[in-house]
Structures are given as structure tokens and as C-alpha cells.
Amino acid sequence: MKSFTNVNPENRQEVVSLLKKVIEEGKTASLAGGGSDLLGMIKDDLVAPDVVVNLKDLEGLQKIEPHSQGVRIGGLVTLQELSQHPLILSQYTVLAEAAGTVATPQIRNVGTVAGNICQRPWCWYFRQGFPCFKHGGDRCYSVVGQNQLHAIFGGGPSFIVHPSDTAPALMALEARFRIAGPDGERVVPASEFFVLPREEVSRENILGPDEVLVEIELPPARQNVKSTYVKIMDREAWTHAVLSVAAVLEIDQGVCRKARIVLGAVAPIPWHLPHVERMLVGQRITADLAGDAGRAAVSRAQPLAKNGYKIPLTEALVRRTLISLAG
């Protein structure tokens, strides 16, 4: 692996000033949570940071803390902790399930929730170092290449899919992300954190090079809510989703009062389906309605040459997930 200097800041202010200093010196820095994605990128010469900023010792960001306005999740909480935390399991099930489907025990033990959200794309061209848009190049090789795993929504000019399992779950839970930067901190809804390639092709979210995702805030748990994360893979473990759905339904006396449905691995960002949610609110979720919702979910899909199979798969996954949650 190419050499670099590792630094171990102790608090978020220190991270921000470190990043600022490195940038001012004309050098590059990469943040490392668990490092499970970053180190592979460095070994494959996809990034070549002069400085690796190890976030593991940051004060106070390793905790899951319930409070009156909801739950605060430190960015350094591991996926293992998230998937087994009693409060997350019982009240925010979709998130515990999503974290529990990531990769393997070894990766969940080190992988952090912030790192999971900020991981780079796993498009095979990007990971092989093809000079694509994501590496500052001028094309997306998947357009006329092997695009089996690429986007059916929101693509262009790059057709990557957002790889994170926790991101769709967090968007479905209406989480908010706290970001620290040189001008202090800001909090943005998860739905405004991710950016489409047509807005900004070289990165997947709004973070600048001098910013760090420090916390995730979940709204208070509500009564009568059921949620789940369902992930389709091309084998049974250890891999990113071919397709996934995060669904959160509030059902009172058989009637759906609120719905949030977000798809994973179909678009360059977690793909929210507000038009499908509107079909469900105020209704009893019957098999027929779930079928209509499945069809509506894919009505605007634009497949590439080899990923058309994702359309019936998405339709069925949405239908089945709604039936099982409502049932």
C-alpha cells in the first residue's frame, strides 16, 4: 500500500482544523471510520491520500443515545452495535435490519455507520480505476458496457447505484445528518444529503472535502409503526444489494396513516417513492393495493441494456414487503 501519515484526532473540531490545514498545504486527506472501504481504495490506487484521518478515537461519537427529541447515533457507532441495539431493534427495526445485512461479521465489527453512508460506489468500472466520471473522467463506461448492476432510476451522466444498506433505511426513517465543517455545524435531512450525478458527478453527497459526518439524528419513535429492510443479493452473504427496499408504515386500526418507502441499489442515491406513499395513506393495504403500489414503484424506471430484470424484481419486492408489513 502506498504510504501516508495516519493522524488520530480526539474531537470533531480537531478533525475540521486538520482537514483545513492539509488542504491549505496542497495535500489530500481521507477520513477513516472502520477503514473497510478506504483501505481497499488506497491499495487499488483509487485514492492516494497524504494523510489518513482516523476517526476512531473521536470523543462521544461511539454512542447511541435516546433523548426527548429522538435518538442520537454517533457516526462512529459500528454496524454490529447498530444491528443489535435493543432500542433500534424494537423501534427502528428497518435500520437494525439494514445494518445487519451489510457484508460479514468482520466488516460489521469495524464498519461505522458514517462510513457506510459515505462509502464510495462499488461500480466495477470505478473500482477497477477506469477513468470514468467518478474519477474525474468524461464518460460512464457502464452505458455501453456491463450494466447489470447499474441504475434504473436517476441515472446520467453516471449510472452508479448508491451502495449503502443503511442509507435507504435512514431516509425511510426521516433521519437527519449532522455535519461538522470549517463554519461550524449544520444539520440536513437525509433526503437532502445525497446528490444525483446530474447535479454533481464526482461525489455522491453534499460533503465538501473539509467536512465530516458526525451524527445521525432519528426522530422520536411513533406508535403503531412497523418497518423492515429487505435485501436481494446475488448470493446469500457478503455482498452489496442487487436491490433493496426500506419500508416504514404507520398503521392504525388497519388503515395506513403514514408510509415511507425507499429503494436501495436502483439509483445513484437512495430512491424515495413519494407517489407510491400517497397511494397508501388513508387506505387499508390489501393485496390489490400492494400490487398497484408495486407497479407504480417502477412506472418511471429507465433500464439500460442489461438491467431490465430489476424492474419486475422491484415491483415484486415492493408488493411483497407491503403485504408482509401490513399483514
Binding site: 500500500m1 502506498k2 504510504s3 501516508f4 501519515t5 495516519n6 477503514g35 473497510s36 483501505l39 481497499g40 488506497i42 491499495k43 487499488d44 489518513v52 482516523n54 476512531k56 454490529q80 457484508a103 460479514t104 461479521p105 468482520q106 466488516i107 465489527n109 469495524v110 462499488w122 466495477w124 473500482r127 477497477q128 456491463q146 447489470q148 448492476l149 446475488d234 448470493r235 446469500e236 452473504a237 457478503w238 455482498t239 452489496h240
Partner: protein
């Protein structure tokens, strides 16, 4: 046409596990024109490995598995893919399993590490090792130390796992000889759940 998976794509285009594993063996060693004396580079870290204290001078970009194998001589921990994709490098850090190929040695400063060398006490094998032999777990044996450490992490936390829990716990360890079922049997037998094939 044969369907393409992420893995077969990478294999065809020349990286992937098989190729990545083969590269180190072919690599010609490179020497710096003026090698710096080791003492002037890197920083000292304190690793407690299998109960024994080690102070080692490491460079920031060295992985934990490099230090264990190349600097402490603990070659029971293997390197297959060097990318978090095979599990051969599994060790325990403060009791939790991780891929030592995907973790920097400097991040392990002050931590307790357990490797396969720490399982047996003298000639007395760990019950897991006994069961691995009994159930013919190891074939070529390359993945075995990683399988043992994943199993150890599981049984430390959950001495009586269900079959599903044991499967999940071993899911991060690939066996190219495909002896997954025997490893699973051995783990369940150790936990007192499985049928011993006596």
C-alpha cells in the same frame, strides 16, 4: 451467455481474488536506493498478542496482518485476497473478529489481539481445534485459522449458538475447498449442539 457477477467481472478483468492472491508471489522486491534505518521511520505501537506484550516499530500504512506475519513471525494468520473478501486473515481485536488485512497496525495500538497461535495451551488443543480435526474441517488448510478465529469469536459471546447463528458467524470466511458444512458441524459439535460423527 454465462451471467456475470461482480466477482466474475473482476476475475476476467484481471483483479479479483484469484489474481490478487497470485500477485504478491510474482512481485519483484523493490529496494529503496537509500534504505532508511528502521528506527528512523514509523512509530512504536504496543500490541498485546495472545497475552504477550510487544512493542513494535511500524509505518503508518502497514496493515495489522503485515505486522503479525512479517514482524512478529505469527504466520498462522493468512493473507488470501488482502481486500476484506476472503476471511483468511481473521483475528480478534479486543474480542471481536476483524480482517487484519483491512485494518492498520497503528489503529491496534494498545489493543489485545488474539491469533490462531494463542488457541492451544502447549500441547493441549482448544476444543474447537479438536473438533475441526474430528470433523475433517481443514482440507488444504489455508482458510482454517480464519475459520477458527471466527468460530472462537462466536463461542466467546454465545456458547450455545443455533445452526443459523453459527452459519452467520462463519459467513465471512470463504473455503476454496468448499468444506463449509464440516466447519459448521465442528463448531456446533464444540458448542454441544451438533451430532458428533464419531
Amino acid at each position: 451467455m454465462k451471467p456475470i457477477s461482480r466477482r466474475s467481472f473482476l476475475e476476467r478483468s484481471g483483479t479479483g481474488m484469484a489474481a490478487a492472491a497470485a500477485i504478491p508471489a510474482l512481485e519483484v522486491p523493490t529496494f529503496q536506493s537509500q534504505p532508511q534505518p528502521a528506527e528512523e521511520r514509523g512509530r512504536e505501537v504496543h500490541l498485546k498478542v495472545n497475552g504477550k506484550d510487544h512493542r513494535v516499530k511500524v509505518e503508518d500504512h502497514w496493515t495489522l496482518v503485515e505486522v503479525l506475519r512479517d514482524h512478529l513471525g505469527l504466520t498462522g494468520t493468512r493473507v488470501g485476497c488482502d481486500r476484506g473478501e476472503c476471511g483468511a486473515c481473521t483475528v480478534l481485536l479486543d474480542g471481536k473478529s476483524l480482517y487484519a488485512c483491512s485494518y492498520l497496525a497503528v489503529w491496534a495500538d494498545g489493543k489485545e489481539i488474539s491469533t490462531v497461535e494463542g488457541l492451544a495451551e502447549g500441547d493441549q488443543l482448544d476444543p474447537l481445534q479438536e473438533a475441526f480435526i474430528e470433523h475433517d474441517g481443514p482440507q488444504c488448510g489455508f482458510c482454517t485459522s480464519g475459520q477458527l478465529m471466527s468460530a472462537k469469536a462466536l463461542l466467546n459471546q454465545n456458547p450455545n449458538p443455533t445452526e443459523e447463528e453459527a452459519r452467520q458467524a462463519l459467513a465471512g470466511n470463504i473455503c476454496r475447498c468448499s468444506n463449509f458444512n464440516r466447519y459448521l458441524e465442528a463448531v456446533l459439535a464444540t458448542s454441544g449442539k451438533g451430532s458428533s460423527r464419531g
